[in-house]
Amino acid sequence: MSETKPPAAAKPPASRERIQQARRKWLRTILLTGGVTGAALSGFLPLVYARTKRLRPPGALDERDFLASCIKCGQCVQVCPVQAIKLADLVDGVGVGTPYIDAREQACDFSCDAVQCILACPTGSLVYKKPAFLGVRKGAKLAAAPILKAKEKDPEPTLNLSERIGVARLTRPEACLAIQGKGFKGQVRGASFKGRLRYMEVDRWKPIGVSEHPYDLAECDLCVRECPVKGAISIETVFAPDGSKRKSPVVHEPCVGCGVCEMICPVEPTCIVVDAREVWNT
Protein backbone atom coordinates (compact mmCIF):
# COMPACT_ATOMS: atom_id res chain seq x y z
CA MET A 1 0.00 0.00 0.00
CA SER A 2 1.34 3.34 -1.00
CA GLU A 3 -0.18 5.62 1.61
CA THR A 4 2.31 6.78 4.22
CA LYS A 5 1.63 5.62 7.70
CA PRO A 6 1.48 8.00 10.63
CA PRO A 7 4.55 7.73 12.85
CA ALA A 8 2.49 6.29 15.69
CA ALA A 9 1.63 3.23 13.63
CA ALA A 10 5.22 2.63 12.67
CA LYS A 11 6.65 -0.73 13.65
CA PRO A 12 7.90 -0.61 17.22
CA PRO A 13 11.53 -1.66 17.54
CA ALA A 14 11.73 -5.40 18.10
CA SER A 15 12.49 -6.48 21.62
CA ARG A 16 15.81 -8.07 22.43
CA GLU A 17 14.07 -11.39 22.93
CA ARG A 18 12.40 -11.16 19.54
CA ILE A 19 15.72 -10.48 17.89
CA GLN A 20 17.32 -13.38 19.69
CA GLN A 21 14.49 -15.68 18.72
CA ALA A 22 14.83 -14.69 15.11
CA ARG A 23 18.57 -15.20 15.28
CA ARG A 24 18.16 -18.67 16.78
CA LYS A 25 15.63 -19.63 14.16
CA TRP A 26 18.04 -18.47 11.49
CA LEU A 27 20.82 -20.53 13.06
CA ARG A 28 18.62 -23.60 13.12
CA THR A 29 17.74 -23.07 9.48
CA ILE A 30 21.41 -22.92 8.60
CA LEU A 31 21.99 -26.04 10.70
CA LEU A 32 19.29 -28.01 8.92
CA THR A 33 20.45 -26.74 5.54
CA GLY A 34 23.91 -28.02 6.40
CA GLY A 35 22.47 -31.34 7.55
CA VAL A 36 20.41 -31.91 4.45
CA THR A 37 23.21 -30.84 2.14
CA GLY A 38 25.64 -33.05 4.03
CA ALA A 39 23.33 -36.01 3.71
CA ALA A 40 22.90 -35.21 0.04
CA LEU A 41 26.63 -35.40 -0.41
CA SER A 42 26.48 -39.02 0.68
CA GLY A 43 24.72 -39.50 -2.62
CA PHE A 44 28.04 -38.88 -4.31
CA LEU A 45 29.64 -41.87 -2.67
CA PRO A 46 28.73 -44.13 -5.59
CA LEU A 47 30.50 -41.73 -7.91
CA VAL A 48 33.57 -41.71 -5.67
CA TYR A 49 33.48 -45.46 -5.29
CA ALA A 50 32.70 -45.99 -8.97
CA ARG A 51 35.89 -48.04 -8.92
CA THR A 52 34.05 -50.87 -7.17
CA LYS A 53 32.59 -52.26 -10.33
CA ARG A 54 29.33 -54.07 -9.96
CA LEU A 55 27.57 -56.03 -12.60
CA ARG A 56 24.48 -54.12 -13.72
CA PRO A 57 21.47 -55.81 -15.34
CA PRO A 58 21.69 -56.58 -19.08
CA GLY A 59 21.31 -53.59 -21.35
CA ALA A 60 22.57 -51.15 -18.70
CA LEU A 61 23.89 -47.85 -19.97
CA ASP A 62 27.49 -46.93 -19.16
CA GLU A 63 27.85 -46.37 -15.42
CA ARG A 64 27.57 -42.56 -15.37
CA ASP A 65 24.53 -42.55 -17.62
CA PHE A 66 23.09 -45.43 -15.68
CA LEU A 67 23.37 -43.58 -12.37
CA ALA A 68 21.85 -40.49 -13.97
CA SER A 69 18.82 -42.23 -15.40
CA CYS A 70 17.97 -45.01 -12.93
CA ILE A 71 14.86 -44.02 -10.96
CA LYS A 72 15.41 -46.80 -8.39
CA CYS A 73 11.99 -48.38 -8.68
CA GLY A 74 13.08 -52.01 -8.86
CA GLN A 75 10.78 -53.02 -11.71
CA CYS A 76 13.72 -54.94 -13.19
CA VAL A 77 13.97 -56.84 -9.89
CA GLN A 78 10.32 -57.80 -10.10
CA VAL A 79 10.30 -59.30 -13.58
CA CYS A 80 13.45 -61.40 -13.29
CA PRO A 81 12.44 -65.09 -13.23
CA VAL A 82 15.57 -66.14 -11.30
CA GLN A 83 15.73 -62.97 -9.15
CA ALA A 84 19.28 -62.28 -10.21
CA ILE A 85 18.81 -58.54 -9.75
CA LYS A 86 19.14 -56.97 -6.32
CA LEU A 87 18.89 -53.38 -5.15
CA ALA A 88 21.99 -51.82 -3.64
CA ASP A 89 21.97 -50.70 -0.03
CA LEU A 90 23.65 -47.71 1.59
CA VAL A 91 26.95 -49.51 2.18
CA ASP A 92 27.23 -51.22 -1.20
CA GLY A 93 28.66 -48.03 -2.61
CA VAL A 94 26.98 -48.33 -6.00
CA GLY A 95 24.05 -45.99 -5.41
CA VAL A 96 21.20 -46.59 -2.94
CA GLY A 97 18.37 -48.44 -4.61
CA THR A 98 20.12 -49.10 -7.93
CA PRO A 99 20.03 -52.65 -9.32
CA TYR A 100 23.04 -54.94 -9.55
CA ILE A 101 23.78 -58.61 -10.07
CA ASP A 102 25.92 -60.72 -7.78
CA ALA A 103 26.73 -63.39 -10.36
CA ARG A 104 28.31 -65.84 -7.93
CA GLU A 105 25.08 -65.92 -5.91
CA GLN A 106 22.63 -65.75 -8.78
CA ALA A 107 23.64 -65.07 -12.33
CA CYS A 108 21.39 -63.89 -15.14
CA ASP A 109 20.67 -67.03 -17.15
CA PHE A 110 18.37 -65.35 -19.70
CA SER A 111 15.66 -67.84 -18.82
CA CYS A 112 13.17 -65.05 -19.56
CA ASP A 113 14.31 -65.25 -23.23
CA ALA A 114 13.28 -61.63 -23.84
CA VAL A 115 15.52 -59.73 -21.40
CA GLN A 116 12.43 -58.57 -19.52
CA CYS A 117 14.33 -56.30 -17.17
CA ILE A 118 15.03 -54.06 -20.16
CA LEU A 119 11.38 -54.14 -21.12
CA ALA A 120 10.40 -53.22 -17.56
CA CYS A 121 12.74 -50.25 -17.20
CA PRO A 122 10.66 -47.04 -17.32
CA THR A 123 13.52 -44.59 -17.75
CA GLY A 124 15.71 -46.20 -20.38
CA SER A 125 18.54 -47.06 -17.99
CA LEU A 126 18.35 -50.53 -19.44
CA VAL A 127 18.03 -50.54 -23.22
CA TYR A 128 17.98 -53.04 -26.05
CA LYS A 129 19.85 -50.53 -28.15
CA LYS A 130 21.37 -47.27 -26.99
CA PRO A 131 19.89 -44.04 -28.36
CA ALA A 132 22.07 -42.34 -30.94
CA PHE A 133 23.36 -39.60 -28.64
CA LEU A 134 25.02 -42.04 -26.26
CA GLY A 135 28.42 -43.34 -27.30
CA VAL A 136 29.31 -47.02 -27.39
CA ARG A 137 32.66 -47.96 -25.85
CA LYS A 138 35.01 -49.85 -28.12
CA GLY A 139 34.62 -53.55 -27.58
CA ALA A 140 31.34 -53.18 -25.70
CA LYS A 141 29.25 -53.78 -28.78
CA LEU A 142 28.58 -57.42 -29.59
CA ALA A 143 29.72 -58.42 -33.08
CA ALA A 144 26.41 -60.20 -33.66
CA ALA A 145 23.19 -60.67 -31.77
CA PRO A 146 23.92 -63.43 -29.26
CA ILE A 147 22.31 -66.76 -30.00
CA LEU A 148 20.58 -68.26 -27.00
CA LYS A 149 21.39 -71.95 -26.80
CA ALA A 150 17.99 -72.58 -25.24
CA LYS A 151 16.15 -71.37 -28.32
CA GLU A 152 18.66 -72.32 -30.95
CA LYS A 153 16.01 -74.28 -32.82
CA ASP A 154 13.43 -71.48 -32.73
CA PRO A 155 12.88 -69.39 -35.86
CA GLU A 156 14.31 -66.42 -33.92
CA PRO A 157 17.15 -67.80 -31.81
CA THR A 158 18.82 -64.53 -30.89
CA LEU A 159 18.76 -62.49 -27.73
CA ASN A 160 17.76 -58.85 -28.09
CA LEU A 161 20.95 -57.39 -26.70
CA SER A 162 23.48 -55.22 -28.50
CA GLU A 163 26.11 -54.58 -25.84
CA ARG A 164 27.82 -56.77 -23.27
CA ILE A 165 27.66 -56.03 -19.54
CA GLY A 166 31.03 -57.61 -18.86
CA VAL A 167 33.40 -60.31 -19.97
CA ALA A 168 34.20 -63.63 -18.29
CA ARG A 169 37.82 -64.26 -17.33
CA LEU A 170 39.59 -67.33 -16.03
CA THR A 171 41.13 -65.91 -12.88
CA ARG A 172 42.47 -69.05 -11.21
CA PRO A 173 43.55 -71.47 -13.96
CA GLU A 174 45.64 -73.42 -11.45
CA ALA A 175 42.48 -74.46 -9.58
CA CYS A 176 40.31 -75.12 -12.65
CA LEU A 177 39.11 -78.71 -12.75
CA ALA A 178 39.06 -78.79 -16.56
CA ILE A 179 42.69 -77.74 -16.77
CA GLN A 180 43.63 -80.37 -14.21
CA GLY A 181 41.69 -82.92 -16.22
CA LYS A 182 39.44 -83.65 -13.27
CA GLY A 183 35.78 -84.55 -13.38
CA PHE A 184 32.98 -83.45 -11.13
CA LYS A 185 30.29 -85.39 -9.30
CA GLY A 186 27.47 -84.11 -7.09
CA GLN A 187 25.86 -80.75 -6.37
CA VAL A 188 28.04 -78.01 -7.78
CA ARG A 189 27.69 -75.50 -4.99
CA GLY A 190 26.52 -77.71 -2.17
CA ALA A 191 23.05 -78.54 -0.90
CA SER A 192 22.39 -75.14 0.64
CA PHE A 193 23.08 -73.11 -2.50
CA LYS A 194 20.02 -71.05 -3.48
CA GLY A 195 20.99 -70.16 -7.06
CA ARG A 196 18.69 -71.24 -9.86
CA LEU A 197 19.19 -72.07 -13.49
CA ARG A 198 17.09 -73.02 -16.46
CA TYR A 199 17.75 -76.57 -17.57
CA MET A 200 16.17 -77.05 -20.97
CA GLU A 201 15.99 -80.80 -20.49
CA VAL A 202 14.01 -80.25 -17.25
CA ASP A 203 11.69 -77.36 -18.03
CA ARG A 204 12.05 -74.60 -20.55
CA TRP A 205 10.05 -72.03 -18.59
CA LYS A 206 10.73 -72.95 -15.00
CA PRO A 207 14.25 -72.53 -13.68
CA ILE A 208 15.12 -74.96 -10.88
CA GLY A 209 17.62 -74.84 -8.05
CA VAL A 210 21.17 -75.73 -9.06
CA SER A 211 21.31 -77.92 -5.98
CA GLU A 212 18.41 -79.97 -7.36
CA HIS A 213 20.42 -80.81 -10.43
CA PRO A 214 23.50 -82.87 -9.49
CA TYR A 215 26.10 -83.70 -12.11
CA ASP A 216 28.32 -86.64 -12.88
CA LEU A 217 31.02 -85.51 -15.29
CA ALA A 218 34.16 -87.42 -16.26
CA GLU A 219 35.76 -84.12 -17.20
CA CYS A 220 34.45 -80.86 -15.77
CA ASP A 221 33.08 -78.54 -18.43
CA LEU A 222 30.35 -76.87 -16.36
CA CYS A 223 31.12 -73.31 -17.43
CA VAL A 224 30.87 -74.34 -21.08
CA ARG A 225 27.95 -76.70 -20.63
CA GLU A 226 25.74 -74.21 -18.78
CA CYS A 227 26.71 -71.03 -20.65
CA PRO A 228 23.43 -69.76 -22.12
CA VAL A 229 25.06 -68.06 -25.11
CA LYS A 230 26.27 -69.97 -28.15
CA GLY A 231 29.98 -69.77 -28.85
CA ALA A 232 30.82 -67.64 -25.82
CA ILE A 233 33.08 -70.17 -24.15
CA SER A 234 34.54 -73.54 -25.10
CA ILE A 235 37.06 -76.11 -23.92
CA GLU A 236 40.13 -75.83 -26.12
CA THR A 237 43.44 -77.58 -26.21
CA VAL A 238 46.07 -75.04 -25.26
CA PHE A 239 49.77 -75.10 -24.57
CA ALA A 240 50.81 -74.77 -20.95
CA PRO A 241 53.80 -72.55 -20.13
CA ASP A 242 55.98 -75.68 -19.95
CA GLY A 243 55.01 -76.60 -23.53
CA SER A 244 52.73 -79.50 -22.65
CA LYS A 245 49.26 -79.71 -24.10
CA ARG A 246 46.23 -79.43 -21.86
CA LYS A 247 42.56 -78.55 -21.95
CA SER A 248 41.23 -75.17 -20.77
CA PRO A 249 38.05 -73.11 -20.93
CA VAL A 250 38.53 -70.25 -23.36
CA VAL A 251 36.21 -67.20 -23.49
CA HIS A 252 35.22 -65.93 -26.94
CA GLU A 253 33.84 -62.70 -28.34
CA PRO A 254 30.11 -63.55 -28.05
CA CYS A 255 30.44 -63.52 -24.21
CA VAL A 256 27.85 -61.05 -22.89
CA GLY A 257 28.97 -61.18 -19.26
CA CYS A 258 25.88 -62.83 -17.80
CA GLY A 259 27.90 -64.61 -15.13
CA VAL A 260 26.45 -68.13 -15.32
CA CYS A 261 30.00 -69.56 -15.57
CA GLU A 262 30.90 -67.69 -12.37
CA MET A 263 27.86 -69.08 -10.60
CA ILE A 264 28.26 -72.67 -11.78
CA CYS A 265 32.00 -73.04 -11.16
CA PRO A 266 32.22 -75.76 -8.47
CA VAL A 267 35.57 -74.63 -7.10
CA GLU A 268 35.69 -72.33 -4.05
CA PRO A 269 36.48 -69.59 -4.67
CA THR A 270 35.40 -69.56 -8.26
CA CYS A 271 38.02 -69.99 -11.00
CA ILE A 272 36.13 -67.88 -13.52
CA VAL A 273 34.58 -64.46 -12.89
CA VAL A 274 32.81 -61.82 -14.92
CA ASP A 275 34.63 -58.52 -15.03
CA ALA A 276 31.77 -56.06 -14.80
CA ARG A 277 31.67 -53.38 -17.52
CA GLU A 278 34.71 -54.95 -19.17
CA VAL A 279 34.92 -54.76 -22.97
CA TRP A 280 36.20 -57.32 -25.47
CA ASN A 281 39.87 -56.74 -26.20
CA THR A 282 41.24 -58.57 -29.19
Binding site: A68, S69, K72, A120, G124
Partner: protein
Amino acid sequence: MKNPYLNRRFLDQIAVMLGREARKPSAISGRAQEIHVLKRATNKERLQEAMIAHADAKKVHTWRNRRWAVLLVVNLFFTLSFWLDIQILEGALTASRFIGFHLIDLNSALQVMLAHKHIIVNLVIGTGTVFVLWLLLGGRTFCSWVCPYHLLAEWAEKIHLWLVKKKLVTDQDIDRRLRTGSWLVFAVLAIATGYTVFESISPTGIVSRALIYGPGLALLWVLALLVFEVFFSRRAWCRYACPIGLTYGVVGIFSPVRVKYKLESCFHEGDCRKVCLVPHVLDTVIKGRAVDTEIPIGPDCTRCGLCVDTCPTGSLTFDVKGLSRLL
Protein backbone atom coordinates in the same frame (compact mmCIF):
# COMPACT_ATOMS: atom_id res chain seq x y z
CA MET B 1 -12.29 -16.48 -10.71
CA LYS B 2 -13.76 -13.01 -10.74
CA ASN B 3 -13.34 -12.30 -7.06
CA PRO B 4 -10.37 -9.92 -6.69
CA TYR B 5 -9.96 -10.71 -2.98
CA LEU B 6 -9.68 -14.44 -3.62
CA ASN B 7 -7.43 -13.84 -6.62
CA ARG B 8 -5.03 -11.87 -4.49
CA ARG B 9 -5.08 -14.53 -1.80
CA PHE B 10 -4.52 -17.22 -4.44
CA LEU B 11 -1.28 -15.55 -5.55
CA ASP B 12 -0.40 -14.82 -1.93
CA GLN B 13 -0.69 -18.49 -1.05
CA ILE B 14 1.76 -19.42 -3.82
CA ALA B 15 4.30 -17.06 -2.25
CA VAL B 16 3.48 -18.55 1.17
CA MET B 17 4.07 -22.04 -0.23
CA LEU B 18 7.50 -20.92 -1.42
CA GLY B 19 8.34 -19.83 2.12
CA ARG B 20 7.06 -16.32 2.71
CA GLU B 21 5.38 -15.76 6.05
CA ALA B 22 1.60 -15.44 5.93
CA ARG B 23 0.57 -11.81 6.32
CA LYS B 24 -2.54 -9.86 7.13
CA PRO B 25 -4.53 -9.35 3.95
CA SER B 26 -4.40 -5.89 2.40
CA ALA B 27 -8.07 -5.85 1.43
CA ILE B 28 -11.15 -7.66 2.64
CA SER B 29 -14.46 -7.98 0.85
CA GLY B 30 -17.46 -6.06 2.19
CA ARG B 31 -19.38 -9.17 3.16
CA ALA B 32 -16.46 -10.59 5.10
CA GLN B 33 -15.84 -7.25 6.81
CA GLU B 34 -19.42 -7.21 8.03
CA ILE B 35 -19.03 -10.66 9.50
CA HIS B 36 -15.75 -9.73 11.15
CA VAL B 37 -17.39 -6.72 12.78
CA LEU B 38 -20.39 -8.76 13.86
CA LYS B 39 -18.13 -11.42 15.36
CA ARG B 40 -16.18 -8.90 17.37
CA ALA B 41 -19.43 -8.10 19.15
CA THR B 42 -20.71 -11.61 19.77
CA ASN B 43 -17.81 -13.95 19.52
CA LYS B 44 -16.61 -13.98 23.09
CA GLU B 45 -19.54 -15.77 24.70
CA ARG B 46 -20.13 -17.96 21.70
CA LEU B 47 -16.49 -19.00 21.71
CA GLN B 48 -16.61 -19.91 25.37
CA GLU B 49 -19.74 -21.97 24.84
CA ALA B 50 -18.14 -23.64 21.90
CA MET B 51 -14.92 -24.39 23.77
CA ILE B 52 -16.85 -26.13 26.51
CA ALA B 53 -18.93 -28.08 24.04
CA HIS B 54 -15.83 -28.95 22.06
CA ALA B 55 -13.95 -30.20 25.11
CA ASP B 56 -16.81 -32.58 25.86
CA ALA B 57 -17.22 -33.71 22.28
CA LYS B 58 -15.70 -36.98 21.21
CA LYS B 59 -12.70 -36.65 18.94
CA VAL B 60 -13.53 -37.39 15.33
CA HIS B 61 -11.04 -39.27 13.19
CA THR B 62 -13.12 -39.95 10.09
CA TRP B 63 -10.76 -38.48 7.51
CA ARG B 64 -7.63 -39.56 9.29
CA ASN B 65 -8.81 -43.17 9.36
CA ARG B 66 -9.81 -43.07 5.71
CA ARG B 67 -6.48 -41.57 4.83
CA TRP B 68 -4.44 -44.07 6.82
CA ALA B 69 -6.41 -46.90 5.25
CA VAL B 70 -5.72 -45.57 1.76
CA LEU B 71 -2.04 -45.02 2.53
CA LEU B 72 -1.59 -48.51 3.91
CA VAL B 73 -3.57 -50.16 1.13
CA VAL B 74 -1.61 -48.37 -1.59
CA ASN B 75 1.77 -49.19 -0.07
CA LEU B 76 0.89 -52.77 0.81
CA PHE B 77 -0.54 -53.23 -2.66
CA PHE B 78 2.95 -52.65 -4.04
CA THR B 79 4.33 -55.22 -1.61
CA LEU B 80 1.63 -57.81 -2.21
CA SER B 81 1.81 -57.38 -5.96
CA PHE B 82 5.48 -58.33 -5.82
CA TRP B 83 5.31 -61.03 -3.16
CA LEU B 84 2.32 -62.80 -4.62
CA ASP B 85 3.61 -62.09 -8.11
CA ILE B 86 0.19 -60.89 -9.26
CA GLN B 87 1.79 -58.12 -11.31
CA ILE B 88 -0.93 -55.54 -10.88
CA LEU B 89 1.16 -52.78 -9.37
CA GLU B 90 4.82 -53.32 -10.20
CA GLY B 91 7.68 -51.14 -9.04
CA ALA B 92 7.97 -48.72 -6.17
CA LEU B 93 6.62 -45.22 -5.45
CA THR B 94 9.35 -43.63 -7.56
CA ALA B 95 8.13 -45.42 -10.66
CA SER B 96 5.64 -48.20 -11.21
CA ARG B 97 3.26 -49.81 -13.58
CA PHE B 98 -0.40 -50.22 -12.75
CA ILE B 99 -1.85 -53.00 -14.94
CA GLY B 100 0.76 -52.05 -17.48
CA PHE B 101 0.28 -48.27 -17.30
CA HIS B 102 3.41 -46.34 -16.44
CA LEU B 103 3.22 -44.19 -13.32
CA ILE B 104 6.26 -42.11 -12.47
CA ASP B 105 6.67 -39.88 -9.46
CA LEU B 106 6.93 -36.26 -10.59
CA ASN B 107 9.89 -35.33 -8.42
CA SER B 108 11.83 -38.50 -9.27
CA ALA B 109 11.12 -37.97 -12.95
CA LEU B 110 12.32 -34.39 -12.66
CA GLN B 111 15.55 -35.55 -11.01
CA VAL B 112 16.15 -38.12 -13.73
CA MET B 113 15.40 -35.65 -16.52
CA LEU B 114 17.77 -33.08 -15.03
CA ALA B 115 20.53 -35.60 -14.36
CA HIS B 116 20.26 -37.58 -17.59
CA LYS B 117 19.31 -34.63 -19.78
CA HIS B 118 17.40 -36.99 -21.99
CA ILE B 119 13.73 -37.89 -21.86
CA ILE B 120 12.34 -41.12 -23.17
CA VAL B 121 8.74 -41.77 -24.14
CA ASN B 122 7.88 -44.03 -21.20
CA LEU B 123 9.10 -41.35 -18.82
CA VAL B 124 6.84 -38.76 -20.43
CA ILE B 125 3.84 -41.08 -20.41
CA GLY B 126 4.35 -42.06 -16.78
CA THR B 127 4.96 -38.53 -15.61
CA GLY B 128 1.99 -37.21 -17.56
CA THR B 129 -0.33 -39.82 -16.09
CA VAL B 130 0.79 -39.06 -12.56
CA PHE B 131 0.53 -35.32 -13.17
CA VAL B 132 -3.08 -35.65 -14.31
CA LEU B 133 -3.84 -38.04 -11.45
CA TRP B 134 -2.64 -35.63 -8.76
CA LEU B 135 -4.04 -32.66 -10.58
CA LEU B 136 -7.44 -34.30 -10.18
CA LEU B 137 -6.78 -35.44 -6.62
CA GLY B 138 -5.24 -32.31 -5.14
CA GLY B 139 -1.46 -32.18 -5.59
CA ARG B 140 0.00 -32.60 -2.14
CA THR B 141 -2.68 -35.20 -1.53
CA PHE B 142 0.24 -37.44 -2.50
CA CYS B 143 2.05 -36.46 0.70
CA SER B 144 -0.64 -37.29 3.21
CA TRP B 145 -2.54 -40.02 1.40
CA VAL B 146 0.28 -42.02 -0.19
CA CYS B 147 3.78 -41.14 1.06
CA PRO B 148 4.79 -43.83 3.58
CA TYR B 149 7.22 -41.48 5.32
CA HIS B 150 4.29 -39.18 6.11
CA LEU B 151 2.68 -41.90 8.19
CA LEU B 152 5.89 -42.64 10.10
CA ALA B 153 6.34 -38.90 10.65
CA GLU B 154 2.76 -38.61 11.91
CA TRP B 155 3.50 -41.21 14.56
CA ALA B 156 6.78 -39.52 15.43
CA GLU B 157 4.83 -36.27 15.69
CA LYS B 158 2.56 -37.83 18.31
CA ILE B 159 5.62 -38.69 20.42
CA HIS B 160 7.00 -35.21 19.84
CA LEU B 161 3.76 -33.53 20.94
CA TRP B 162 3.61 -35.74 24.02
CA LEU B 163 7.17 -34.74 24.93
CA VAL B 164 6.26 -31.10 24.35
CA LYS B 165 3.30 -31.48 26.67
CA LYS B 166 5.59 -32.95 29.30
CA LYS B 167 7.86 -29.95 28.71
CA LEU B 168 10.75 -32.26 27.87
CA VAL B 169 11.32 -30.78 24.43
CA THR B 170 10.27 -27.66 22.58
CA ASP B 171 9.45 -27.41 18.93
CA GLN B 172 12.20 -25.52 17.13
CA ASP B 173 10.73 -23.87 14.10
CA ILE B 174 12.82 -23.36 11.02
CA ASP B 175 12.60 -20.95 8.11
CA ARG B 176 10.23 -22.41 5.54
CA ARG B 177 12.17 -20.86 2.68
CA LEU B 178 14.59 -23.72 3.25
CA ARG B 179 12.35 -26.09 1.31
CA THR B 180 12.38 -23.91 -1.77
CA GLY B 181 16.14 -23.67 -1.31
CA SER B 182 16.56 -27.42 -1.06
CA TRP B 183 14.37 -27.91 -4.12
CA LEU B 184 16.70 -25.63 -6.08
CA VAL B 185 19.85 -27.15 -4.57
CA PHE B 186 18.82 -30.68 -5.54
CA ALA B 187 17.80 -29.56 -9.02
CA VAL B 188 21.17 -27.89 -9.53
CA LEU B 189 22.98 -30.90 -8.06
CA ALA B 190 21.18 -33.23 -10.46
CA ILE B 191 22.12 -31.07 -13.44
CA ALA B 192 25.70 -30.50 -12.33
CA THR B 193 26.62 -34.00 -11.19
CA GLY B 194 24.52 -36.07 -13.54
CA TYR B 195 23.36 -38.11 -10.57
CA THR B 196 19.94 -38.21 -8.95
CA VAL B 197 21.31 -37.04 -5.63
CA PHE B 198 17.98 -36.44 -3.96
CA GLU B 199 16.76 -39.93 -4.80
CA SER B 200 19.54 -41.43 -2.71
CA ILE B 201 18.36 -39.65 0.44
CA SER B 202 14.63 -39.42 -0.24
CA PRO B 203 12.90 -41.12 2.72
CA THR B 204 9.84 -41.64 0.51
CA GLY B 205 11.84 -43.79 -1.90
CA ILE B 206 13.82 -45.52 0.82
CA VAL B 207 10.76 -46.49 2.87
CA SER B 208 8.81 -47.51 -0.23
CA ARG B 209 11.62 -49.77 -1.42
CA ALA B 210 12.12 -51.17 2.09
CA LEU B 211 8.44 -52.15 2.18
CA ILE B 212 8.65 -53.91 -1.17
CA TYR B 213 12.16 -55.30 -1.43
CA GLY B 214 13.02 -55.67 2.23
CA PRO B 215 14.69 -53.35 4.73
CA GLY B 216 18.22 -52.07 4.35
CA LEU B 217 20.70 -49.88 6.12
CA ALA B 218 19.36 -46.85 4.24
CA LEU B 219 16.54 -46.92 6.79
CA LEU B 220 19.05 -45.55 9.30
CA TRP B 221 18.81 -42.21 7.52
CA VAL B 222 15.03 -42.32 7.85
CA LEU B 223 15.42 -43.14 11.52
CA ALA B 224 17.77 -40.19 11.97
CA LEU B 225 15.16 -37.91 10.41
CA LEU B 226 12.46 -39.26 12.72
CA VAL B 227 14.67 -38.80 15.80
CA PHE B 228 15.33 -35.23 14.72
CA GLU B 229 11.59 -34.66 14.40
CA VAL B 230 10.77 -36.23 17.75
CA PHE B 231 13.34 -34.37 19.81
CA PHE B 232 14.05 -31.22 17.92
CA SER B 233 11.67 -29.91 15.35
CA ARG B 234 8.10 -30.98 14.65
CA ARG B 235 7.65 -32.62 11.23
CA ALA B 236 10.87 -30.96 10.09
CA TRP B 237 11.47 -33.03 6.95
CA CYS B 238 7.99 -32.55 5.47
CA ARG B 239 7.71 -28.94 6.57
CA TYR B 240 11.11 -27.51 5.82
CA ALA B 241 13.09 -29.83 3.57
CA CYS B 242 11.28 -32.22 1.27
CA PRO B 243 11.32 -31.05 -2.36
CA ILE B 244 8.70 -33.66 -3.30
CA GLY B 245 6.18 -31.65 -1.28
CA LEU B 246 6.94 -28.51 -3.23
CA THR B 247 6.73 -30.31 -6.57
CA TYR B 248 3.28 -31.65 -5.72
CA GLY B 249 2.38 -28.32 -4.17
CA VAL B 250 2.85 -26.73 -7.58
CA VAL B 251 0.43 -29.29 -9.01
CA GLY B 252 -1.94 -28.38 -6.19
CA ILE B 253 -2.09 -24.79 -7.43
CA PHE B 254 -4.22 -25.99 -10.31
CA SER B 255 -6.17 -28.70 -8.54
CA PRO B 256 -9.91 -28.48 -8.00
CA VAL B 257 -9.81 -30.62 -4.86
CA ARG B 258 -9.18 -28.58 -1.74
CA VAL B 259 -10.34 -27.81 1.74
CA LYS B 260 -12.78 -24.91 1.88
CA TYR B 261 -13.16 -22.50 4.78
CA LYS B 262 -16.47 -20.88 5.69
CA LEU B 263 -16.03 -17.74 7.73
CA GLU B 264 -19.53 -17.39 9.08
CA SER B 265 -19.67 -20.50 11.25
CA CYS B 266 -16.05 -20.33 12.48
CA PHE B 267 -15.37 -19.64 16.18
CA HIS B 268 -11.67 -19.01 15.61
CA GLU B 269 -10.59 -21.40 18.34
CA GLY B 270 -7.57 -22.30 16.25
CA ASP B 271 -7.68 -26.05 16.85
CA CYS B 272 -7.27 -26.65 13.15
CA ARG B 273 -3.96 -24.80 13.12
CA LYS B 274 -2.70 -26.91 16.00
CA VAL B 275 -3.16 -30.21 14.17
CA CYS B 276 -2.06 -28.94 10.77
CA LEU B 277 1.22 -29.98 9.15
CA VAL B 278 1.29 -26.71 7.24
CA PRO B 279 -0.46 -24.18 9.52
CA HIS B 280 0.59 -21.27 7.30
CA VAL B 281 -2.11 -22.29 4.84
CA LEU B 282 -4.70 -21.85 7.59
CA ASP B 283 -3.72 -18.26 8.44
CA THR B 284 -7.07 -17.29 7.01
CA VAL B 285 -8.91 -18.75 10.02
CA ILE B 286 -7.24 -16.24 12.36
CA LYS B 287 -9.73 -13.67 13.57
CA GLY B 288 -10.10 -10.87 11.06
CA ARG B 289 -7.93 -12.40 8.37
CA ALA B 290 -10.50 -14.00 6.06
CA VAL B 291 -10.79 -11.96 2.88
CA ASP B 292 -14.13 -13.43 1.91
CA THR B 293 -16.92 -15.56 3.31
CA GLU B 294 -15.77 -18.75 1.60
CA ILE B 295 -12.10 -19.35 1.02
CA PRO B 296 -10.24 -22.23 -0.60
CA ILE B 297 -7.15 -23.21 1.42
CA GLY B 298 -3.88 -22.77 -0.47
CA PRO B 299 -1.83 -25.17 -2.64
CA ASP B 300 0.60 -26.16 0.12
CA CYS B 301 -2.29 -27.88 1.93
CA THR B 302 -1.84 -31.66 1.89
CA ARG B 303 -5.60 -32.27 1.98
CA CYS B 304 -5.05 -34.61 4.93
CA GLY B 305 -8.38 -33.71 6.51
CA LEU B 306 -7.11 -33.36 10.09
CA CYS B 307 -8.57 -29.86 10.28
CA VAL B 308 -11.85 -31.10 8.82
CA ASP B 309 -11.98 -33.74 11.56
CA THR B 310 -11.09 -31.34 14.32
CA CYS B 311 -13.30 -28.39 13.37
CA PRO B 312 -16.28 -28.44 15.73
CA THR B 313 -18.46 -26.23 13.56
CA GLY B 314 -17.92 -27.76 10.14
CA SER B 315 -16.35 -24.57 8.88
CA LEU B 316 -13.67 -26.56 7.12
CA THR B 317 -14.85 -29.07 4.53
CA PHE B 318 -13.52 -30.89 1.52
CA ASP B 319 -14.62 -29.24 -1.66
CA VAL B 320 -14.29 -29.86 -5.36
CA LYS B 321 -14.19 -26.63 -7.27
CA GLY B 322 -17.14 -26.26 -9.61
CA LEU B 323 -18.76 -29.49 -8.47
CA SER B 324 -21.35 -27.87 -6.22
CA ARG B 325 -22.33 -25.58 -9.07
CA LEU B 326 -22.64 -28.58 -11.35
CA LEU B 327 -24.84 -30.59 -9.01
